[in-house]
Amino acid sequence: MSGSTFETDNKLVNWFEKRLPIISLMHGAVVVYPTPKNLSWWWTFGSLAGVALVIMMATGIILAMHYTPHVDYAFLSVEHIMRDVNYGWLIRYVHSNTGSLFFMVVYIHIFRGLYYGSYKDPRELLWIIGLLIYVLMMATGFLGYVLPWGQMSFWAVTVITNLFSAVPIVGDAIVSWLWGGYAVGNPTLNRFFSLHYLLPFVIFAAVILHLWALHTSKSSNPLGVEVKTPQDTIPFHPYFTAKDLVGLAVFLIVLFFFVFFAPNYMGHPDNYITANPMVTPAHIVPEWYYLPFYAILRAIPDKLGGVIAMFGAIVILFLVPWLDTSKVRSSRFRPIYKQFFWILVLDCFVLGWVGANAPEGHFILIGRLATAYYFLHFLVILPIVGMIEKPLPLPESISQPVLKGEQE
């Protein structure tokens, strides 16, 4: 594409290259990687997610040096991190707030994909690997939230592990296997710590597969027309390294705004009360990033049905490449679907809002309607709009609208 392959006169580099061509691999991936020249800001969220993962792993490994995974000490060890360990408060707040922002970044990244049809042929596997990362992140975030062993930690594990008791026949056996006891207790905390340490590394491996798939099918772009000539692309470095760094700067400003000025804004005060297996807090809520799914769980007035709907809401995302019948990728050229996209975004916010409130009064009805709409969007609207909609005319290539001096 942009032609250049890796070449150097440096003897040491060449000696190394001959035995392990990792330098040329990196060169191909982050320097010359031919990038569509029209990528917008929505394309910076992928690299931001990567940085967030690295921050999580670095701060997490440090926290693990001071944390004790035992029911009698976990809460105290977190307080010890906050009060005694040098800069412990900083590292913990960076870990917990980056956790939240990581989800925000990934949600934007996913909705970017939904808007621009990034999941369509030939990027289905790229999409699926991305969703696997998202599922692993949800598991990791949940496991991590349990570690401080506050009231919200304890009741989050209780409610979430009990979801499996809805499985017919073997449900109770699964739950006691997960707990390692008759109730959530020390064995549960201990294994959750082990898994919380493990999963980020699994995510890291999945990210490598995600990038491999990306570099095989290449980046899509806001127009959704494939790259046709080398004129449509520019090398990743310096153009997109620079752009991504600007995105990173903004991300860090937001992150440290929270860390320094509102470190507990995205947390819940009840988690500063030590876990008490005998008292459930009056109003338990999950972390904000699970709220829409929590609303779906509660919308169905049946235990097994609620659990199926909740998992179904995630599974359905895996089917999107095949549910979307449109020939055109980008919603920019899809006047009807574009509107439904924004309704879906709104619907997800409504679900989140319902999830944050007690299931009483009008929240029950709103929650049910919003849940029904969520499934309607993917199962009915997405396939049908693709068939009946008349897309706007597509530009011939990425460069064409620019060369003609058209304003998009």
Binding site: T161, W177, G180, Y182, P187, M278, I284, R298
Partner: protein, 177 residues
């Protein structure tokens, strides 16, 4: 193979070699499954956890209309000395109105004493006593109402509050588990 040249039919026949492949594969799969089992079973409750399986409670300090919560296997157990009104209410229910029909007499060895695992059968929160629409328990997590026999009446919980195995050792002492 020799047999092929001698008898063309034999090509379609299962051979000694196919048998060996299948037998080896099967044995390998069974062996792998057996090797995996300890890795899975280690997560089940360990022996010391299983050993903590019974709790004895002295009921004498509990007055009529009072409840206590004791811990059994790390879970709360509600022990309530019911009032006559509560007993009558619990016994006076039409079975057809219950999502999980069960006679009160089958749930309380002595009508006065109700012993329940204090864990909502929906997703495991601890219900609040003397509340809800049926004068029994109410779970604030997702809104399940239980009656004065601990039976589910409305809400997402599928089953009645569980009555643990327990026995009266004498008039005022019980052993749970």
């Amino acid at each position: 193979m020799a047999s092929n040249t001698l008898d063309p039919e034999a090509v379609e026949q299962p051979e000694r070699r196919d048998f060996l492949y299948i037998a080896t594969g099967t044995l390998g799969a069974v062996g792998a499954a057996m090797a995996v089992w300890p890795l899975i079973d280690q997560m089940n409750p360990s022996k010391d956890v299983l050993a903590l399986s019974s709790t004895e409670v002295d009921l004498s300090p509990i007055e009529e209309g009072q409840s206590v919560t004791v811990v059994w296997r790390g879970k709360p157990v509600f022990i309530r000395r019911r009032t006559q009104a509560e007993i009558d209410e619990a016994r006076d229910v039409n079975m057809a109105d219950l999502p999980d029909p069960e006679e009160d007499a089958a749930r309380a060895v002595k009508p006065e004493w109700l012993v329940l695992v204090g864990i909502c059968t929906h997703l495991g929160c601890i219900p609040l006593g003397e509340s809800g629409d049926f004068g029994g328990w109410f779970c604030p997590c997702h809104g399940s109402h239980y009656d004065t026999s601990g039976r589910i009446r409305i809400g997402p919980a599928p089953d009645n509050l569980v009555v643990p195995d327990y026995a009266f050792l004498d008039d005022t002492n019980i052993r749970i588990g």
